[in-house]
Symmetry: C2
Subunit: 408 residues, 2 copies
Amino acid sequence: MISVAEATRLVAATIRPLGVEHLSLSLAAGRVLREDLRADRDFPPFNRVAMDGMAVRYGALAAGQAEFRIESTQFAGQPPRLVQDATAAVEIMTGAMLPPGVDTVIRYEDLTFRTDSAGQRWATVQALPPRAGHNVHPQAADRHQGDLLVPAGTRLEPAEMAVAATVGAATVAVSRRPRVAVVSTGDELVPITEQPQAHQIRRSNALMLQAAAEAAGARTELFHFDDDPEALRKGLPALLSGFDAVVLSGGVSMGKADFLPSVLRELGVEQVFHEVKQRPGKPFWFGQQPGGAVVFALPGNPVSTFVNFYRYARPWLLAVQQPAGTSATGAAPVPAVLTHPIDFKPPMTHFLLVSLEAGPDGRLLATPERAGGSGDMASLLTSSGFLELPPEPEHFPAGTVLPVWRFR
Amino acid sequence: MISVAEATRLVAATIRPLGVEHLSLSLAAGRVLREDLRADRDFPPFNRVAMDGMAVRYGALAAGQAEFRIESTQFAGQPPRLVQDATAAVEIMTGAMLPPGVDTVIRYEDLTFRTDSAGQRWATVQALPPRAGHNVHPQAADRHQGDLLVPAGTRLEPAEMAVAATVGAATVAVSRRPRVAVVSTGDELVPITEQPQAHQIRRSNALMLQAAAEAAGARTELFHFDDDPEALRKGLPALLSGFDAVVLSGGVSMGKADFLPSVLRELGVEQVFHEVKQRPGKPFWFGQQPGGAVVFALPGNPVSTFVNFYRYARPWLLAVQQPAGTSATGAAPVPAVLTHPIDFKPPMTHFLLVSLEAGPDGRLLATPERAGGSGDMASLLTSSGFLELPPEPEHFPAGTVLPVWRFR
């Protein structure tokens, strides 16, 4: 039986970046970029007016001029005209390109206007701006043309969408979504729509895994096989060749109906490991079809399935969306503070369901759930993550800081 | 000009729960539940075998019996048969219903088997279980039939999907998605696919708002209007009656092309407020069409648009998906620790872009970004949230704990 660290290393060793596809930007939200986005122009691309008001030459103000003749009015989106008269001004709007010949903008709040008998408008400055260039966002102040803005490997979140649009990335190269087959096994399972007999239960892991895999960016399909080696031999090959990952739940323990490991090996799937020194979820089986899918065969107890998915399969799904040499944000656990002492004796990693709360001092507080074991599905409802307690020591006092894997 | 607190209150006053729709459970992931989910059976629904091995009567073990005759083998999903002989055992698999007549399960690891000359199998117990009921997950240990499991108002995340499937909720009542029209305005804006002239820029706020609104559960459509009152008068009425919210960017400042507030009022939209004591994003205009959409008219500088969306529009979008009397999880800011001192003089709320990091002691650390102002879109790339600094004091020393609105 291997350690959690070793299992993590072996799962990570199967990570290969997925292929690239080119999508229209508006369809690419949430995808991981596979090309660098660079500034096609300076940011801002011109001396950009940052307030509605009047553009003047600061030298004229400094020389004591208070009233300015309005030579023209310039809206955002209009080409600027040279201001020829050093003592004149342009009434100007936010977003406009500052015209040559002026350098400073005075906002409406600091101006009074009058129109003379000839119909000419004049504005008087009520408050002197502190410096030349005031209320102007100078060309290239933020970024220069050619600068790397969004490197390959970044997920396209709203801020990245805005920048991609600005640089004209109408189509973008992104990772395709991982294809995941979610497979439930177990003769005791009936479809959701059926009324189970006394000794049966409804299929629940499959929908849980589907929702969790889709939230990690995957496209999923659901399958169910009975505990019958022949059905598995017939059904699994198409999944092993047609998907990037096959996530199974059930059928990997020591029971007489736990055919999965032997059938998977028969079908050519190379076993990477079986059983990890962890609770819950010890019977986790992991393998890889040469040239085909990786196989996460998770134990079927709901909490075991859940914890193994978030601990191993989700990080894998996020990682294969990354180009080589980059890592996914949000894939790693974060430190949290245990609010109650915990004892755990067996020398194995303990995944402890916790509710999480942000303390008033900014600390993330983790309170253990009173869970009924790996079959207590309802305990997942009131938890929002699980702490990873290392095999040693046996006692973890309140206040211990431990990594937490969040699932909410 | 009103305070941020007052603006928050006025936006919240327009919140009405959206209508309900009934969806197949597999299509309902991520939606907010509008009905209570209760346990249709006990959790577990029967005394559930939790290990593969052999079920026996504990009394026999306690009386010194070590070897048991295997009367039958029972798989998960098979109806149990009464064990008549108090000294016999059932070989049994995880997930099976414990048969009447036995009460304790001994796992395979603690058993040795032999087959006698008559072909009868026997098992000898190598390690005595600690108590009666060992390795049995008793009926109703976790929840009772009729118990409330998932209350209305809960978002259907993977754990809730599993529980919903278990109780047979093949279709569920959920909130419909809010319909959001995302509207950009501004004559300086050209489509992403076009090469802007020197004084133009590409439309970027619309895609940003679309991605952010969709991530908050909305269905969106994009629109663009030039800075022309006639175009706005023609185009806006269909949006005001056909959507739950209209989110505009640009056209709400003091500029001569900022027609939006007056056109919206002309079209019957009741202005709730215009301008909030905050930086960035002061010119935010908010209104409501009687019987129609609420209107978030956000200033067009990208950082202003962004911050106003996450501060006001996103909480609104999450809240309207909730049934009355419930609140959305993840909609409120969390406390974070300022890593560097900040001074901000104007007596208004300051939204400060920060990068966020989990410190080794479990504290969420917020480091201010060196941002170039409300036009510096690129500063959003390196930030993952913004702190809300109240109008007073002017000086915030390092170590101050402040609420942070996360956008990653």
